[in-house]
Point group: C2
Chain length 425, copies 2
């Protein structure tokens, strides 16, 4: 497709999204919930046609020689169908964030000033070849009153298109604009380039997926983004930690699952807890096959206790492994731990294990991350666990929404002013 044609396609898609967003922003809660419930029904009813479209995507991916893990994420199983349908029903049950009014207060001039929660407008959501994201993203956008342009991985194009048709039909049947949620009209990668420059039509870009993609978008997007780049999470075992709790939490934070972004990648241990704590956690990691990459003091303690451990290289402290590997360092103070986390972390999720009130208070205040935790596993950083009901992703940015982003993160507050003819004098 020529650049000109691509641009025209973006114009068309963007204009339709903007128009639909104007209607969706004021749509009654009941209509939005109705669309979500119809969508859940359609997903179950049309399982066979979704599966057919998906089987074509899967065969094409197999012919192209894509990795089994990739195909795993691409494949839509009956369980995924049910999860998607259930997700829509759950989002329908959540309170509507849009239109709520807060803090209306009289001011000296006579006016009343308050704030109203409103949708962001049009979301541009860019994700990998994972069909379920199409439905998650569509449902969250509908409930939060946002229009959306969904650009999933090209390998899932047939499945995404099939799901997009169901979303459009459910919007229409609920009396809402069917173009409120649009699947990108082309699998051409150049469309992403158009989307991240369409400032007139798109209010926020939400990328989900590969670090490479997100790093590129961070350089190139002309539209604000809600995203996370890295998940370099820390667990810090304080001098005063309950060692039994520290062992159980550090185990869970690293080994419950290795791939998620909220798994701990670096373990910091206060010098006065190290001799007791490190051999105990070392035994667990060794047994589970977790490779330990250590600074000098941690290495001495672990090797001394008979565990195999490696010396960490400088880049280890800045690495997200997403694998059975952990870096371990001993620190001399709480201040050093906080400084270490703020320097090497990715502002995602960091935890302290402590019994000391002052240590808790300093850690909570001074660690500059979306989620800061006391005495629990970093793996708990999640929209569902936090009670948000659903999440579009986890933000490591510092403006707007930090940490898990649910419906509220897809809205913002505008000022509303109620007067009686007041002017400025």
């Amino acid at each position: 497709m020529t650049e000109l044609a691509m641009n025209a396609l973006m114009e068309q898609t963007g204009k339709a999204a903007r128009e639909a967003s104007r209607i969706l922003c004021a749509a009654p809660t009941a209509s939005k919930n109705k669309a979500l419930k119809i969508l859940a029904g359609l997903i179950r009813e049309k399982e066979a046609s979704i599966a057919l479209a998906n089987s074509m995507d899967v065969s094409a991916a197999r012919s192209a020689g894509l990795a089994p893990a990739f195909i795993d994420r691409l494949a839509v199983t009956p369980k995924i169908i049910e999860t998607m349908a259930l997700g829509c029903e759950q989002i329908a049950e959540l309170p509507d964030p849009v239109g709520s009014i807060e803090d209306v207060r009289p001011q000296a001039s006579g006016i009343m000033v308050g704030r109203m929660r409103v949708p962001l407008g049009v979301l541009g959501i860019i994700y990998e070849a994972r069909p379920n994201v199409t439905i998650d993203a569509a449902a969250l956008a509908i409930k939060s009153g946002n229009a959306a342009i969904l650009r999933g991985g090209s390998e899932a194009i047939r499945t995404t298109a099939a799901l997009g048709l169901l979303v459009a039909r459910s919007l229409k049947e609920a009396g809402l604009p069917e173009r409120a949620i649009q699947v990108a009209p082309t699998a051409d990668r150049a469309f992403v380039g158009e989307l991240i420059r369409a400032r007139k039509y798109v209010d926020v870009i939400i990328p989900r997926g590969g670090k490479g993609l997100i790093a590129r978008l961070e350089q190139e997007s002309q539209i604000p983004m809600i995203h996370h780049l890295d998940g370099i999470c820390h667990t810090y075992v304080d001098a005063s930690a309950d060692i039994g709790m520290a062992v159980s939490v550090a185990d869970n934070a690293k080994t419950q699952r290795y791939a998620p972004c909220n798994a701990t990648e670096t373990l910091l241990v206060h010098i006065s807890a190290a001799a007791e704590f490190l051999p105990r956690i070392g035994a667990i990691y060794a047994e589970k096959g977790v490779e330990m990459r250590c600074d000098g003091r941690a290495l001495a303690l672990l090797s001394g206790a008979g565990f195999k451990a490696l010396r960490a290289q400088p880049e280890d402290w800045d690495t997200e492994y997403n694998a059975p590997i952990i870096s371990i360092a001993v620190v001399d103070s709480l201040s050093e731990a906080i400084e270490f986390i703020n320097t090497h972390g990715s502002h995602h999720t960091d935890a302290i294990i402590t019994r000391d009130l002052q240590a808790q208070s300093r850690f909570l205040r001074e660690v500059d991350s979306g989620s800061v935790m006391v005495n629990c596993s970093t793996r708990l950083a999640d929209g569902f666990v936090y009670g948000l009901g659903a999440e579009i992703g986890i933000s490591t940015g510092k403006l707007h929404a930090r940490g898990p982003v649910g419906l509220e993160g897809l809205t913002s507050l505008k000022y509303i002013v109620l007067g009686h003819g007041e002017g400025r004098h």
Copy 2:
């Protein structure tokens, strides 16, 4: 200066800002207030040396043939000295937004989840040759716990440097890091280019000033921005408006001052109010020398009543005049007015004059602007008028902060999680 040297300078400045921000984010309220009060005292005490530095800037600007209006903004009068000092004292009196904790609630897993308000980190503030902005921005940054790099217009370099020294001294005397607020170390324009790309060191860019600058930054900044591009504000006179109120508000909104971004640029009038309203407001505008650029129906009514009016060109509906000019259109419905505002406005501030409850409710909900007003003048969109105590600017963005941005807008919420050894299962 070579690009390499400029880059090294940014590295140095950025690193110092980041380090200072780590301390300032946890600084006690009392220390921050102490710094602000010392600063107020120093500004008054050092009036003579500020005036001396400023007189050199002013002479240089005169020699360079800069416009009188430019020199007006550059010149520091005794009144401006006192306003700067008073501003610091007022900001010291405002409640500290940092560290407040909200919504701590138990979740099913046993953890408690809440949110803490924290500084954004390091602000990059870019502004014109207006010395008072140096002090306003420094005071807001200090109180909100943010470090800042201030880059004022190069024509004010001596004044800005003199004020920067006072800020550094007040921070030091209050026991805070003196490099928390840094004046850009060079007047070279290339430093702005470095600043807007220093993602590692700068968390948000806040530009104040020329539309050209802001449009350029919107294209080039790799760091999120809080800013406003245009102030195309509307006043809509609804069918049910109290015509006397509509006349008085439309007068104030346009003529109280022409230059500010919150002055009304376009007047929309419902067809059934037009015949009564337009001749009355036309008489006032004509008397005050406000040029009226009208659509066909408004032109007929105003000319018919004997006022001089022009036919608007299409670009008039998208123009911020900042001058005694107003564009006027007649609409057939509230829906048309809302659609017009959302299409031609700049998401800044828009007002309806109405007695109708449903019209109020739809206008508040559907007009997509930072401030949406009922029965008052758009000129009231202002941080002080809204009770924020101070403002760093007005945002027309839709993420993070909309409308006037005060101390709260310079902070965000992070999640805090309090556990008892919980893990993910």
